[in-house]
């Protein structure tokens, strides 16, 4: 059977001060009136019944997420004692699914992206399942709309075939986030797509890769797997997990995996992992201002105001290219081109011992 696994583990420091340790980005209402997590689940309900939608998240965030989709079976939340990166999160999900269904095919999806062409998305999920059933590790590549330096890129190799109208290719290589020149070259070449972080594969196939490429993690996972369905599961997980090395699925598995395929797709995909990308998803005025909340601007251009904190007014005069995020106890004013440094601000606050604002 085919299962969706929504990765909802990150805390989203790049969306500070809206995202907090107590309020992760999946729980934020960034666009429209639903949280990112609600969108992530509701988007796929037409293709996955609720009982086959799983969520991997940190235990501390689970109650917040459970509240948001009360219909989702509580047992479908796979809880990590702490975040160890995407590879361990996927491994944990894989043993749960394999336990339930030895033939499980899992679609690894994300909660911090926006997809506007859901019909196309449903089609490609079907095509990817078909390719994955044969044993491929399928990655969904996003056709680049710009030479973004914010994503990793996937270079496609030889064509492998076509399913339901979608071509799929061997993967030549995965690249990390590029510099602007490389990004430009890759986009112009036409055979690169953005690494969306969405994958489809059989649970047994990804386990095979963990065994081959991350043997230490595989052994740790086996300890946990042995306790599935027993009272020993949680204590074992809590004991093992802090010792699991942090690793991403890209670096830990995908770059050297066997039988990897990419399906380039065009599904109206946007990253909402940071403030810079948000304005694209919200209505703007004629001079590029996007305001959520009460904003009055005089000679204000290309500025994102994200407030909506009670009845506060944000007034701006003679400013351009700013990100202004107003929350109850913290205000961020950041030059748009410096938004990657929001993470540095969070780090700075940590170092200063300002935990109350994190």
């Amino acid at each position: 059977m085919y299962y969706a696994v929504i990765m909802a583990g990150g805390s989203g420091t790049r969306l500070w001060p809206l995202s907090r340790q107590s309020s992760p980005k999946q729980a934020l209402r960034l666009v429209g009136d639903k949280t990112m997590f609600q969108y992530a689940v509701e988007r796929i309900r037409p293709v996955f019944p609720l009982e086959r939608i799983f969520v991997v998240t940190r235990a501390q965030h689970a109650p917040i997420l459970m509240e948001q989709i009360p219909e989702l079976p509580a047992g479908n939340f796979i809880l990590e004692p702490e975040g160890r990166g995407t590879a361990p999160a996927i491994g944990l999900a894989a043993i749960h699914l394999k336990d339930r269904d030895p033939n499980a095919v899992m679609a690894v999806l994300t909660a911090d992206h926006f997809i506007t062409d859901t019909e196309e998305f449903y089609q490609v999920l079907g095509a990817a399942e078909s390719v994955a059933s044969d044993g491929s590790l399928v990655t969904l590549g996003i056709q680049p709309s710009s030479a973004s330096t914010g994503f990793g890129y996937i270079q496609q190799g030889s064509a492998l075939g076509e399913r339901s109208g979608f071509k799929f290719f061997a993967v030549q290589r995965f690249t990390e986030k590029p510099d602007p020149t490389s990004a430009d070259q890759m986009v112009k070449s036409g055979d690169y797509s953005w690494n969306s972080g969405m994958f489809v594969w059989r649970a047994d196939r990804i386990m095979e890769e963990f065994r081959r490429q991350m043997p230490k993690f595989y052994a740790q996972l086996a300890e946990v797997e042995a306790m599935l369905g027993t009272p020993g599961y949680e204590p074992t997980l809590k004991r093992v997990w802090p010792r699991v090395a942090k690793q991403t699925i890209d670096y830990g598995v995908m770059e050297e995996a066997e039988n990897v395929a990419v399906i380039p797709v065009d599904i109206g995909w946007s990253d909402v992992g940071s403030w810079a990308n948000l304005p694209e998803l919200l209505p703007s005025d004629e001079v590029g201002n996007v305001a959520v909340g009460q904003h009055v601007g005089i000679d204000t251009r290309d500025t994102l105001v994200f407030a909506g904190n009670g009845n506060r007014l944000i007034a701006t005069i003679g400013v351009e290219g700013l990100v202004i995020v107003d929350t109850e106890d913290a205000l961020l004013i950041c030059a748009k081109e410096r938004e990657q440094d929001v993470r540095a601000m969070v780090k700075r606050l940590e170092e200063m011992g300002c935990g109350e604002w994190l």
Copy 2:
């Protein structure tokens, strides 16, 4: 006898959103731990006993100001039903003082300026009293420290004499706020000083000027004066005042007055009527940031953060030359060179019917 009259009538729209209709600028703690009004009164207590310190303010603001200096006799607050500009405020004070003391000399002082060299200030107040006793209208001219376009200028004419070491001059002319070129020329010429809005004169002499130059206002004032000390005073004032034409003392009286003298002084005087001037009075870091309240900046320069609103944090990344004023229900972010437009923002909010933020 010699009396101080502190003009505390303005609401201070240029200091929005800190100044509000319900919280005028005199009641703000802008510098140090005292309000501007407290500084204005305490500054002159070494030279004026409390019973000779008077305050002209709007009736609606009186309770706030009275709370701040409870020792000041309530009867020394001269209340305007509404603000009509500096000329009517001074006229109202003049009839009160004349009523008490036909030989009253009044020092008209302000509550929105800062004076660091108080010893020199005391000396010049004494010299000015002496000059004023002879019948001159004395204005205190501030020796310019820059070619500011934010003040009116006074051109001195022939030397008239010297009192207690202070030279005083005839006034050649008063000028309005100049353009940058004129300001530059005036400062270079050496015979201009800034119009501080501080004056010393005999109450009967200023009344004489009102009679001669503002006869309609003089007649209105006479109506009020006739009721002084009777139950008819307040109803008469309330009836007359709304019909009094708005007028400044500079334009209404000083420009065409007879027997005007200027004493140029150097008393460490600063205007704190707008956000741009405030940083000079507060400690700044090595890259020109001034922060009141909790501020953490990454690559932030030449920026004023005025917060101190509970436990809120202001975080800035990659910004320069901003004024950031954070209050409980409104936030202002303004380019420093556009700070004169804070008034325009207040007007805009009025037009939009956003009275709750005014």
